[in-house]
């Protein structure tokens, strides 16, 4: 197997796994959105921050695996904001989470198009 063919097969496998995993990834984004809302209302508790930190950390890794580099970086930025210990700046945090949601939706559409192309 040539290296290029091997890479294509890996990408094809990952696309299938992504379709199965996407709902879980979006649920993690929803966790971040809930925290953004709690920050906006001025009532983020420590436990929510920790859950959101874990969600951002996992998103950063998983999105990288599936080849969504920009979304992975965005999640890493959110993770770094949350890892600081103090409540993040609400506006910045909300902007980043919204950006992540958009990137994931774009990634979903792009992924579906690629799979359709591959199957025709």
């Amino acid at each position: 197997m040539t290296q290029q063919r091997g890479e294509e097969e890996v990408r094809a496998t990952l696309e299938k796994v992504w379709l199965e995993s996407r709902p879980q990834a979006l649920e993690r984004v929803a966790t971040l959105e809930r925290l953004a809302e709690a920050i906006r209302l001025g009532a983020p508790d420590q436990e929510s921050r920790e859950i959101a930190l874990a969600a951002a950390h996992r998103l950063s890794g998983a999105l990288g695996v599936f080849g969504f580099g920009e979304a992975s970086c965005c999640a890493a930025e959110i993770e770094s904001l949350l890892a600081g210990g103090l409540p993040p700046d609400g506006a910045t945090f909300a902007q980043l989470v919204a950006r992540l949601r958009t990137l994931l939706e774009e990634a979903g559409a792009q992924n579906t198009a690629q799979m359709e192309k591959r199957n025709t």
């Binding site: 890996v10 990408r11 996992r58 992975s72």
Partner: protein, 226 residues
């Protein structure tokens, strides 16, 4: 933790990552290759170390940031316990310092999650006794470590904190360049037996047991000047 039957004809792999999505993705890639069998999964570093000792996979794919025990500490625990496994770090990001530390702890390389298409060639390289660093198969890990050390700006002047003699430091310098005893003996106009005796003394002083460990140790501790 998920287990499956070990297939002896395939290269056996243990995946240690706290994210089930990542584990599933990596497992799927390995299964689809037809060359690897995932014998076990671990969601934290402590479990990973225990399962490696129990299931003796050919390769451990190890994330860095995990609950209970971080990846490098799990690797340290395995090294300390004398458990032999080819370890590839599979992580989102890693500093040069962490790469150096991982290599010193016996890791065979690093694959970034954002470059997971390199996973199969990396595993292939590692199974053939090579290292996998920065997207390439590497045989001379000492040279790579030197480059990484320079890149990290860690090239300190030689600092002799281990009671090493000038001649011993000289010999260490040759070891980091990958020289054999015969070459060192020729360069220093001494016999190979004398080189071996110096090496035994050096190993005793710094607590290392082989040339690779010594070279990595020397570079990390600034015992040699480029």
């Amino acid at each position: 933790m998920k287990r499956s039957t070990k297939k002896s004809e395939l290269v056996t792999v243990l995946i240690a990552d706290d994210d089930p999505i990542v584990r599933q993705a990596v497992r799927s890639v390995l299964d689809a290759s037809g060359e690897f069998s995932v014998v076990c999964e671990a969601e934290d570093g402590k479990l990973a170390a225990e399962l490696v000792a129990e299931t003796t996979p050919d390769v451990l794919l190890l994330d860095l940031l995990m609950p209970n025990l971080p990846g490098l500490e799990a690797l340290r625990a395995l090294t300390t316990a004398g458990v032999e496994v080819r370890t590839l770090l599979l992580c989102s990001a890693i500093s040069t310092k962490q790469v150096l530390e991982a290599l010193q702890l016996g890791a065979r390389g690093v694959v970034l999650k954002g470059r997971v298409t390199e996973l199969l060639p990396a595993l292939d390289a590692v199974m053939h006794g090579q290292y996998w660093i920065e997207g390439e198969s590497v045989s001379n890990v000492v040279q790579v470590v030197q480059q990484l050390t320079e890149a990290a700006g860690q090239q300190n002047p030689p600092a002799n904190r281990f009671g090493l003699t000038a001649r011993e430091l000289e010999i260490i310098s040759f070891i980091t360049q990958g020289c054999m005893n015969r070459d060192i003996a020729g360069s220093l106009a001494i016999t190979e037996e004398t080189v071996k005796r110096h090496l035994t003394n050096i190993f005793n002083k710094v607590g290392m047991s082989n040339r690779l460990e010594l070279a990595l140790f020397a570079i990390e501790h600034g015992l040699v000047r480029k």
